[in-house]
Assembly symmetry: C2
Homo-oligomer: 490 residues x 2
């Protein structure tokens, strides 16, 4: 269980229990009739559906499903336009569309049509409708390779059907897992996209390509920078929880102190509480943006600084320390002040496809994570592939293949590819598995010292630090270069 | 039926009816105890087996099968050796091993270990033993993508287990479909192979990338060059067969004149006879080597010249013309003089996996072919995808996806790749779908004017024309360059 929770950070909260039926075949226009102010979602786009093979890599399963994609062509120029193609990741594509303001911001400058393609098995793009998650047989086509093939075939379709698009250069853009997909898309389908912007893409968070502790040590550093003794307070909180939860009275006290909706009953509940707290600190590190934002949760500017204000004294007696920890966590879960109690079984990230990412983590996306309580502020936990594999088998009847992703996408040996920007925020824990040094003069690393998880993909904001403005300018510079170069070919 | 037969040229004669069981797990040494003279197969190698996932691209089917591969390390140098890796195509790998003398000839110069990897579903590498071809469910994993993944995982295994191999540069080499695989392997797995020699690889014989008539027009040109009026004789032979076969007496005469093992009974048999003759001319074009050879059949040097000696007068009366055509075909089928009768149901190519290639042609490897009787010497036949698809569905319960190969491997838009040599013999009908002009300074085309189907991959021979010697020298030059460049990385 803990091993799986460690992987949650890239995705959460299941949208599948709702039992979505197959999406309608007709397209419809987004709710907004006019251009929206840049910071206010939703942007204006059209929703479309495209018939995709369920299995690109085999011929026995010959059925199709409807893949959803969003199109915004307000800035598109038929004569010399480009196409910015968001390689959708683990969630509803409308959410990524509304949270990738960068693409909307640069559309005019690049005469670009924006396309946001939903990843199969997420949002409305369910290959087998509400049976998609029913068993390993139906889940069999949830892989990155199938998703990339979807993208390639969809772009081919757009080029064939949109007047003026045939020779339009396409650039893949994505963040997080979507950034990994953008990079891999350029690597595997360089004939389809002229380049890729892979923001906060931990393509090396696999096998032993980076130390398994790097992720949590970056989280810890963020809290060290967030306020004096902040990380020490968190480090000490685990022992405090363990000591207090050792009695029934303590369990009661803890439940009350943390305003838990369901009181803690046993040590398993305590483990869940600790995992939930860990996830909270992780998510804060990911969304530690320099301005008020609502990405995973509504939060103030530099939220880690805000939570750290409650955790200045790590030497306090257990109960006082934990009351402070509660105040801190409450910033994350209850910044609006509306929550009556906190629910540890409710994940801290919304809008993302928990079930799908669970399955992907149990198959291809095996990202080893570990903590030692020395280089990080967490309870020590080793990476245990065997235990992880057993859990996966129990849950999905599949077993992870940890070496597959490096085998198929090249691991660190990717220098023969070209035209990929890897951008990373130094504050983002995922930057530990990212590319942060130039590989060649066309495999570019951009590091944003004040950046959290793909800050550069967010809409421009008055609170943006200079480093992200520079990063975006450089990204546009390279994209223009790729576009220019591709024009000379036609 | 005819549409399928057109595609036979890349593969034939089923080896599956034999009902091969799973191969032994232990390796054994080849029969020969010492180095063989270069022209005489078998060469000395060890046979090995490696456990491969049946499905690399899905996790529901988690079983493995034993992939056969052959290793020859007599010339291998641990300190600065290279690995030449044959990307096996549609047949028993020992046959390709013994017919790719070029690799044996250059092993010493490149300090190379030779590895010949068998393609799944051929030879002994049957994913489901003798059930592998039982239905579309079992055939589902017979794709080029799965084969490439096998190669990548196998090479990874070799690098991890063979002392000194970890940093050894690997070069993919293949001919025909194997050449396509070699090229695609470098495109999709550039982290695994530093370059590829793709000999006679018709990677553009798909969709409308080249005119569908190019293949048969090259065959025709070969016969035009083979002797005066030779192609006209063949062109006229179809009408003669049609006229004579219109009566029962004519059918009897034809059966006798062609020494057929089973007499012709009806027009369907006549169609088979004509298809069999077409295939004979096609195969002669493919193996029109400048010296006595036994590739598909034992044949004299420049066999087209030999057969054309029998077809100098296209204006002869029907029966005389057809008697000459028989003499010509008899060179191909009965050069040894041992055959008592000719069998039109027996394919003209041996050692290859007919069933497997049939299936591949019905799924991914959809290579449009057509004839018009004007630019070629064949009866006019249009490319009919619909009819082809119906046949495929009848036979395998699958339907071809003609646009998939260009979508996944890039079609003509492959310039962002590197380090691939495309070699083609000008005489080879498959050169029409091949890359015969340089694309970039590292995507090199080598054309061998006197070459038939991958002549350059054959063992060196005193009868080799200068052009193939030059081609091989250039190939070695580039391979050395790739090896040299990769050394600087480590």
């Amino acid at each position: 269980m803990p091993a799986l929770l460690l992987l949650l950070s890239l995705g959460s909260v299941c949208c599948l229990q709702r039992g979505l039926s197959a999406p309608p075949l007709t397209s419809h226009r987004g709710p907004a009739g006019r251009a929206q102010p840049r910071s206010a979602a939703p942007y204006q786009y059209r929703t479309r559906y495209f018939s995709q093979k369920i299995d690109h890599f085999g011929f026995d399963e010959d059925h199709t499903f409807q893949q959803r994609y969003l199109v915004a062509d307000q800035q598109w120029r038929k004569d010399n336009g480009s196409i910015l193609f968001y390689t959708g990741n683990e969630g509803d594509i409308t959410w990524f569309c509304n949270n990738t303001g960068f693409m909307w911001d640069v559309a005019e400058e690049l005469n670009a049509m924006l396309v946001f393609a939903e990843h199969r098995y997420y949002g409305e793009s369910l290959p087998f409708g509400n049976k998609s998650y029913s068993d390993s047989k139906h889940l069999n086509y949830l892989t990155s390779e199938q998703a990339l093939a979807d993208f390639a075939i969809l772009i081919q379709h757009l080029k064939e059907t949109i007047p003026g698009a045939r020779n339009a250069p396409v650039i893949a853009i994505g963040g997080s897992y979507g950034g990994m997909l953008a990079a891999w898309f350029r690597m595997k389908y360089p004939h389809v996209v002229v380049g890729a912007l892979a923001a906060s893409a931990p393509i090396w968070q696999f096998e032993d390509l980076v130390p398994c502790g790097v992720f949590y040590s970056i989280v810890t550093n963020d809290f060290k920078k967030g306020g004096q003794c902040c990380s020490e307070s968190i480090l000490n909180s685990w022992g405090a929880i363990n000591r207090i939860s050792s009695t029934d009275e303590g369990l009661k006290w803890l439940s009350h102190a943390f305003h838990l909706c369901s009181p803690l009953k046993n040590q398993q509940d305590v483990a869940v509480l600790k995992a939930w707290l860990s996830e909270t600190w992780v998510n804060l590190a990911m969304v530690n943006y320099p301005y008020k934002a609502d990405f995973l949760q509504p939060l103030p500017a530099w939220p880690i600084q805000v939570v750290c204000k409650f955790m200045k004294n790590p030497k306090l007696p257990d109960k006082l320390l934990l009351q402070n920890v509660f105040q801190a966590a409450n910033v994350y879960y209850n910044y609006s002040g509306a929550a009556l109690c906190l629910n540890t079984s409710e994940s801290a990230t919304r809008n993302l496809g928990l079930m799908g990412w669970y399955y992907q983590a149990c198959t291809e996306m095996v990202m080893p994570m570990c903590t030692d309580g020395v280089n990080d502020m967490f309870e020590p936990r080793k990476w245990n592939l065997h235990a992880f594999s057993e859990e996966c088998f129990k849950m999905w009847k599949v077993r992870p293949r940890p070496s597959w992703i490096p085998s198929v996408y090249g691991g660190k040996n990717i220098s023969s590819h070209s035209n990929i920007i890897f951008s990373n925020g130094r504050l983002d824990p995922w930057s530990g598995g990212g590319v942060t040094l130039n590989i060649t003069d066309s495999l570019i690393a951009i590091v944003i010292p004040e950046g959290a998880h793909h800050l550069d993909l967010r809409a421009s904001n008055p609170g943006d630090p200079k480093s992200v403005l520079q990063a975006r300018a450089l990204e546009v510079h390279y994209m223009k270069q790729w576009i220019e170069k591709s024009r000379h070919k036609h």
